[in-house]
Amino acid sequence: MFRTALRNVLAHKARLLMTVLAVTLGVAFVAGTLVFTSTVSAAYQNSSHKSFDEVDVAIRGGDPRTRTRTTPKLTRELMDRVARVPGVQSVTGVVSGFTAVAGKNGDLVGQGWTTQGANYVATGGARDARYPLKDGRAPHGPGEVVLDAKTAERAGYRVGESVRLSVDGPVRTPRLVGIFTTDSGEVAAGGTLALFDTPTAQQLFGMPGEFSEIDVKAAPGTSQTALAAAVGKVLPKELRTTTGRSLADSQAVMAESRTTSLQTTLLTFAGIALFVAIFLIANTFTMLVAQRTKELALLRAVGATRRQVTRSVLIEAFLVGLAAAVAGLVGGIGIGAAMRPLTSSFGNGGQTLPEGPLAITPAAVITSLVVGIGITMLAAWLPGRRAAKIPPVAAMSSVHAVATPRSLVVRNAFGALITAAGGIGVLGASGSTLDDGQMPMALSGAVLMTGVLVLTPLLSRPFIAAAAPLLRAFGVCGKLARENALRNPRRTAATASALTIGLTLITALTVVGVSSERSIDQKATAALSADYVVRMATYDPLSGTVEKRLGKVDGVSAVSPLRAAPARIAGRDTFVSGIDASTIRSLLRPQFTTGSLAGFGGRGIIVAKDTAQERGWHTGTTVPVTYPDGTQGELTVSGIFQRNDLLRGIVLDTRTLDPHVQTATAEQVLVKTEGGPSDTVKRNIAKALGDSPAVLVQSKQDVSDSIARSMTMMLNILYGLLAMAVLVAVLGVINTLAMSVAERAPEIGMLRAIGLDRDGAKRMVRLESLAISLFGGVLGIGLGVFLGWAGTRLLASDMPGFELVVPWGRLALFLTLSAMVGMLAALWPARRAARLNLLNAIKAE
């Protein structure tokens, strides 16, 4: 059996080409993902372990913004106490926080969260062992900084030049006095690290005289756990110790989880592509079995059992899958290797990935092979079973054993049931709340799609009949194309289905994405009457000086910070917002369900509707409060508003809140100008902050634009990922057409003989391709719009004012795309049809 199967595979090399290609693409996607993510993850792990080499035990304090008044501070006194613990070799006090570094062109270097600043510890003129200096010297005083080598190189700074950087808004320009190297995982991942001397860092990061972390190095012979226990004894009980190893581990876990979620996303799309490939594989094997009816019957006649016949088909599938999987694996490793330099070159000097060897794990190899072979054999299983049902007598029959098309009645009934169930499920789910409806929606969506796929043979007839007037314009070619497309509804359906899947997903995502964009935009800007919103590019807090500076800018009429501070309200620890009650009217117009801004200010607070509902508060409710500094008081709810992007939760007047906050920072600063937004005002605002690289000054329009940009980017990424599924679908159309052309060679030969010219033969194949592709496309777009509509309805339950936006322009584009798929896929088969040697074709009997 094995030899027969191998011979068959070799004999049908050309016919199996598309199948192999489709599986190869899918497997390459899987293997590429696995190789890339495990390479990155291994490199991250490696670098995070290296970066904690110098730390045996770490003591961490809280974030100065969030910790409560009672948390003990990490002072020098505490550090000295730790230094005296037996087994401690050395102690380092670390101060760190967000620091944005701008390149010479003024743009931010690195990605938000990993742009850090810290202190360079040069005790008694000694160098900081954590940061070996490559060039220059250690920083001294507020006017000096050292940068890591990668950042210096990316930003183009040399020792002696002044660096533009920002910690909390306003720009600073210290002189670069040194360049160091580091193993920090964050720097390796594309972050930046700027170091100041300790007092400067403490000042900059808002913790004078304090440290954010104390790192302890063990004396030789003392284990990390023993040291942690010993150090723990001298600490106040609120402070905890962590060993260096567990710090490294948790950082590795974080890096791992980041790559894992990337991996899951990529594998999902690889899965979709492979799912689409199943249709192609099944089509191919169905055809191969049909072509070999006589041969298989002969095998049965000479004594092969049904099982053996099925097995011979499955062995063929195994061989095809194996070849494709190996090719895919090789291709995938190539993709994995190519992706690293590629991702590094993306973005404005942004993300770089830690260096490390290409990690080809056995798991990746095994997974790729299993997936490739498994998918192929799975798809070939049904055709294999069908092959086994061929009666031995078929071998003797001189009549061409035209397989009688099995009735579609059972299939249609079954499909109608599934479709109905899925449709009702989707409708039902779309009416419920976001939390309850999400899972049922996804499940019913999948069920509905399955149902429609089962029904495609039935749907192909009316669709292609509807296209008949269009096809008729092409005369006899159009008529023949239509008949050919209808000839084998199962094959046409399977071919179109592949395209349907891709287009359903693309359309549904587009509908939801475009609708979301509109409503997110509305949420972000509807309640905003300020002309500009000023914030850090990284969403870190702005220094309290920002609002004061902005208040003095020419043309600015009103300014208010939006603060966030921890407080205990009505017995629960929570974050409260602070806004200036004297200017809020010109900056925001929250929509009140009860009450108004009238009572806001002093002890009067306003509360978002969802928070009020949860807490059972009404206008007039009085609640006890404990401020961050421990002072107690009472607040009265004066209004309940519909929450929006800027204002949510519990909102206090800044004059009430500020006296109780250690350092008043702002999440955002809202600015109203006298003459409305203008380039001059915007420039003045930016100038007031020293054109800081870390600060964004956005008008309402800028906010809308950036929302639109990020939505467009997200959709583009999704389109890119779904492109693989569409590509496989294109291969499927090519495959079907090539199969059909080969099968109908005698017919095409006859047509050519009686006077159809080459162009006519080409046109006939092209129109058939077009009919199939448009069928798949229209079905996918229709299904996608329905699912998109259901999705937006579900989202609307969570976001009031969420409306369906049907992007007609894009839908038309997708339809054009399906037509292009049809034309593209027909290129090669049409050529083959036109080039057919008509004598051979006629004599083929």
Partner: protein, 282 residues
């Protein structure tokens, strides 16, 4: 089987055939070949399928081409019908010299001037009988001549079967559809390649009867390749091919006479010893 018309006539010598054909030049000619040579392959595998064949097919006549396997009879038909290229010499349909035509012109010529009947019927399974019959005109984008079409359909006796698909028709009926298709556009000449090869004798006789009546009653020209002496006996003339040359001919043949002639040809197999089959097998 009905007794075919025509009586046994003395055999003319092979050399005199060309002379005879030239002598008939005054009558209108539907298709002709002059020194038609067809060579396949090169070097070691070089095979001369047709060796300087000259022949004329008179208008309004039914000619059968016979010969053993590999004699070149199908090749002759393919070359003269514009389905295959020729190596040297000329082939004409009406006044048109085929080797001067490009593929597109050749296709148009086949569409407008030539009708085909194949051994395997070669109908389109997706079209009804009526649609199959008008296919050449549909391809040309021409309206069929209704009156002629009805006459053709009546002649082949298909008026009750027009809306059927080929799969609903018997082999004989399918071949009758093919005959009607070949006749429908009133071609200059119809080439039939073993039209009865896939049929039982009764259906075969029917189809041959229609071919003959299309010549006698409708004035068509038919050239038929066959290896069946009974089929050949329906023709006005039979020419015999061996080794790529015309070796003999018969006027108004009977099945017996054809059979005798064939037997003579097979009795000299040494003459084709080095000839590989050229695909003209029946």
């Amino acid at each position: 089987m009905s007794q075919p018309p025509g009586a046994h006539r003395p055999v003319p010598a092979p050399q005199s055939l060309t002379t005879q054909a030239v002598a008939r030049r005054s009558t209108p000619v539907a298709a002709s070949a002059t020194d038609l040579t067809k060579v396949y392959g090169q070097g070691e595998t070089r095979v001369t399928a047709l060796d300087s064949v000259s022949v004329e097919f008179g208008r309004g006549r039914f000619t059968a081409i016979m010969g053993p396997s590999g004699s070149g009879k199908s090749t002759l038909m393919h070359c003269m019908a514009g389905l295959d290229t020729i190596s040297s010499g000329t082939a004409r349909i009406g006044d048109v010299e085929l080797s001067s035509l490009r593929d597109k012109q050749l296709t148009r010529l086949r569409r407008d001037k030539v009708g085909f009947i194949f051994q395997a019927f070669n109908l389109l399974p997706t079209l009804t009988a009526a649609e199959n019959i008008t296919l050449p005109m549909d391809i040309a984008g021409r309206k069929p001549d209704r009156e002629w079409l009805n006459r053709v359909i009546d002649t082949v006796g298909l008026s009750q079967r027009l809306s059927h698909r080929p799969s609903q028709l018997s082999g004989g009926q399918q071949q009758r559809v093919a005959v009607a298709r070949a006749l429908a556009s009133r071609p200059e000449i119809i080439f039939a390649d073993e039209p009865t090869g896939n049929l039982d004798s009764q259906s075969g006789a029917e189809v041959l009867g229609f071919l003959r009546s299309s010549v006698l009653e409708l004035g068509q020209t038919v050239v038929m390749v066959t290896h069946d002496p009974v089929a050949a006996s329906y023709a006005n003339d039979v020419i015999f091919l061996a080794d790529g040359r015309i070796v003999d001919s018969l006027h108004q043949p009977t099945a017996d006479a054809v059979l005798d002639r064939m037997r003579d040809l097979s009795a000299a197999p040494d003459r084709r010893a080095d000839l590989a089959p050229d695909g003209c097998s029946s």
